[in-house]
């Protein structure tokens, strides 16, 4: 199985797949953080900024691997 995502073409402009995955990953991590703040679940984390970065990385890897077609 090939896990390497292919390039993204928007209007004939080619974007690296990692850029798209990273942008979506950061947006999803930010939305998750907003919800965790809202429902007061953020208090269970020791250091939230690192958790936010971790979320961004996890989402980026997941989107890059499973959402962006290879």
């Amino acid at each position: 199985m090939n896990f390497i995502p292919s390039e993204f073409a928007i209007g004939d402009v080619y974007f690296p797949p990692l850029l798209i995955a990273a942008v979506l990953g950061v947006i999803l991590a930010w939305l998750t953080a907003k919800q965790l703040n809202r429902y007061r679940l953020s208090r269970f984390f020791f250091y939230p900024p690192l958790v936010l970065l971790a979320f961004a990385v996890i989402y980026t890897v997941l989107i890059g691997t499973f959402v962006i077609p290879s």
Partner: protein
């Protein structure tokens, strides 16, 4: 969306107005005129720069975009600060190059220290824009001079030349096209402020006289505080485009100082009302209604003079008639409360009189005045401000983060851009540190998208400057009109700056999508570095800052309470005293902003009303402690002091103990128990004071010394009451929830 707003602006008028009337109304609107001014100045700046064959015309466009304010004077003032800031930045960039040509790390450390110093100086005065420019332009010029700095001098000269040209062009356009002198907004603001204070005096007097007042006092107080803070910048602007203001600039500054002092005196007067609640003031102070009417009439005349009309009457004397018989029958603490309230009222009377005379002098209706009533700020010794220092540390860290990324990450995008961008953002945040970094993303990226579309789809088919000029005019006009509200100033500046930086007009125009994509990345990296510096090494999260500032405030109050009475001693003691006074005076205002930045209930935070009540109680405590410090310096009767000193000392130590406990844990002191302790102390002190005054000590004391003793008693009681109120408001807040770790 912009078209929609234009249509809304036209269709928002009553249905019976004709389309011609609607167009005339649009033409007369300030938003329309300002948008035309900026767009025209931008096109002219580009035209001159391109015609002269100068490099980097976008620097002139940037000066127009960032210095274009509503009034002529405001724009000239900002433009001059931009030019001076650029010159300072250029001098520093060249000096660093001369001093450390071969020492890369020393050069970087000193350069970033200058960026940090600029961030520190942002809070110094109303001329903060100079430091904002100096800090980031220094980084920009140092990098634009090339890796060996060979062209730094030429770059500095070019930057100053383009900036000066942009400023001159906008100033000329603003002066010739629908000129709007800065004296108009200045007069409007001062008149508005005088009116607000007039209504507040009437409201406060109505409370004391138990009559009805429908005024929204909290909103008025907020208006007064904001208006007073904005006035110095208005005067800076007005003195540049109005000879009338320039000639009387000293009187204007005195007027602003008096308005600020009047604001504070009104607050202190109001804070004493709870202690007056039990007293029959109509009998004790029969002159109160007359004095309130006189103050009202006096401020009405001030407002009249500001409108250009001669005053119908001058300030009248109102004799303070206290009912001596009733005073003698009062308890010492009631009498103390009355004396303190009368002192504040006298201060208000003196300040309004000084304000009347100053305004009469400014408008040419009276004799020249030498001085106002407010204390001069410059008389206070220099002190270090910890919050400005943290802003400087943040700037230093943010710039180092991108510097290290540029040095150690291969192919890091646009190092020559990302470092100045980061410096500009982090220095700007020094004056609004409570602003969430995430809020910068939308205007930054929005501006890049708009400018990117313009650059890719609109610019390539254009073949002459006529076409380019018309296109730039339309785009800049629409952007300015879309962001024309005063609350959108920051967003407008960001979007216009992005527009100018992305289209990058030049005589040999090139179009490169990669440049736009890299600029977007560059901004995101810059914002990311600023975001990280908001967490590390010093947290700028509101829930953390509020605790730290509360702790500092209470510790400073404790130190000031414990400071020895009389001469402040040697230099270190004087500096420490000045530092704690500065903390006590400035922290309530800072805490207002940080408390307002705490998350709302909907986001898992605490109710806004509780937070506001806590902020009010902090202002009251600050005012009361400062009042006590002022009273402690007054002459006292040695005989009375001998009798009361042990009790007063015990009382002071009790207050200090509570302050220390609250500093350690705002939730740790139960207000009910504190109230019980205070009541017991008041009873004991009352008995002791009555005994003392019944004895021989009273005969030894002069009237002034007796009044000073009452002032001291009133001030101690005031601090205690304010402390109980603060403890009770702090107790109402769910602190564990405030302290919760958040993203």
């Amino acid at each position: 969306m912009t078209t929609q707003r234009l249509m809304q602006a036209i269709s928002a008028k009553p249905a019976h107005t004709s389309p011609v009337d609607q167009l005339v109304a649009l033409y007369r609107s300030e938003a329309f005129r300002q948008s035309v001014r900026v767009a025209l100045a931008m096109v002219l700046a580009y035209a001159i720069s391109l015609a002269m064959g100068w490099e980097k015309p976008h620097w002139a466009g940037l000066a127009v975009a960032l210095c274009s304010l509503g009034s002529v004077g405001g724009s000239i003032n900002k433009g001059l600060l931009r030019i001076l800031g650029t010159a300072l930045a250029g001098a520093v960039a060249i000096a660093l190059l001369i001093l450390f040509p071969q020492d890369r790390w020393t050069y970087l450390v000193v350069a970033t220290l200058f960026v940090g110093y600029s961030a520190y100086m942002m809070g110094h005065s109303s001329r903060w824009y100079l430091w904002s420019i100096a800090g980031y332009v220094m980084a920009l010029l140092a990098l634009a001079g090339g890796p060996d700095g060979a062209t730094t001098f030429e770059t500095v000269v070019l930057r100053i030349q383009q900036t000066a040209m942009g400023v001159v062009v906008y100033s000329l356009v603003a002066t010739l096209l629908w000129p709007r002198p800065a004296i108009e907004p200045l007069m409007q603001r001062v008149r508005g402020l005088v009116d607000v204070q007039r209504r507040l005096i009437a409201h406060d007097a109505a409370i004391l006289m138990h009559t009805r007042s429908d005024v929204d006092a909290p909103a008025l107080r907020m208006q007064a505080t904001r208006g007073t803070a904005q006035l110095p910048a208005d005067i800076d602007a007005a003195e540049l485009d109005s000879f009338e203001v320039w000639e009387t600039r000293r009187q204007w500054r005195r007027c602003v100082a008096d308005l600020g002092a009047l604001n504070e005196a009104l607050e202190r007067w109001r804070h004493g009302f709870p202690e007056l609640g039990q007293l029959d003031l109509e009998r004790l102070t029969p002159h109160l209604a007359t004095l309130a009417a006189e103050l009202d009439a006096r401020l009405a005349e001030v407002s009249r003079m500001l409108g250009g009309e001669a005053p119908r009457r001058g300030p009248q004397e109102v004799a303070a008639r206290l009912d001596e018989e009733a005073l003698a029958a009062m308890t010492p603490f009631d009498r103390a409360a009355l004396v303190c309230s009368q002192d504040q009222l006298h201060r208000i009377e003196r300040l309004t009189r000084a304000l009347f005379n100053t305004v009469a002098d400014i408008r040419g209706f009276g004799e020249p005045t030498r001085q106002g009533h407010a204390e001069r700020r410059s008389a206070a010794p220099w002190t270090l401000d910890p919050d400005r220092l943290t802003a400087a540390v943040r700037a230093f860290v943010a710039v180092w983060l991108v510097l290290l990324a540029c040095i150690y990450i291969p192919s890091f995008p646009m190092p020559a851009g990302v470092i100045p961008v980061t410096a500009a953002l982090v220095i700007q945040l020094a004056i609004v540190p409570q602003l969430s970094t995430g809020l910068l993303v939308a205007p930054a990226l929005g501006g890049i998208v708009v400018a990117g579309v313009f650059s890719i789809f609109v610019m390539p088919p254009l073949s002459s400057f006529l076409g380019l000029g018309v296109a730039i005019f339309i785009a800049v006009f629409l952007l300015c009109y879309l962001f024309s509200k005063p609350s959108q100033d920051l967003a407008r500046s960001l979007v216009l700056a992005q527009f100018v930086m992305i289209i990058l007009v030049s005589n040999e125009q090139t179009y490169d999508f990669l440049y736009i994509a890299n600029t977007a990345q560059m901004w995101l990296f810059g914002i990311g570095a600023v975001w990280i510096s908001g967490w590390f090494p010093i947290s700028f999260q509101p829930q953390q800052v509020v605790f730290k500032q509360l702790h500092r405030f209470l510790r400073s109050a404790d130190r000031l309470m414990g400071a020895a009475r009389g001469a402040p001693g040697h230099w270190p003691q004087r500096m420490a005293l000045a530092f704690h006074k500065h903390e006590l005076t400035t922290l309530p205002g800072k805490l207002d902003r940080w408390l307002a930045a705490l998350p709302a209930v909907a986001d898992g935070g605490v109710p806004r009303e509780q937070v506001q009540a806590l902020a009010d109680s902090l202002h009251a405590l600050s005012g009361r402690v400062r009042e006590l410090l002022e009273v402690r310096g007054a002459a006292q009767s040695p005989a009375i002091v001998r009798e009361l000193i042990a009790d007063m000392r015990a009382w002071r130590l009790g207050i200090q103990e509570v302050l220390v406990a609250l500093a350690a844990d705002p939730d740790g002191v139960e207000a009910g128990r504190l109230r019980g302790r205070l009541d017991a102390k008041l009873q004991a002190m009352e008995a002791r004071t009555e005994n003392t005054l019944d004895g021989a000590a009273r005969d030894d004391a002069s009237t002034e010394e007796l009044d000073n003793m009452y002032r001291m008693l009133g001030a101690y009681r005031g601090v205690s009451e304010a402390l109980v109120s603060f403890a009770s408001q702090a107790r109402a807040i769910d602190w564990p929830r405030v302290r919760e770790a958040r993203f």
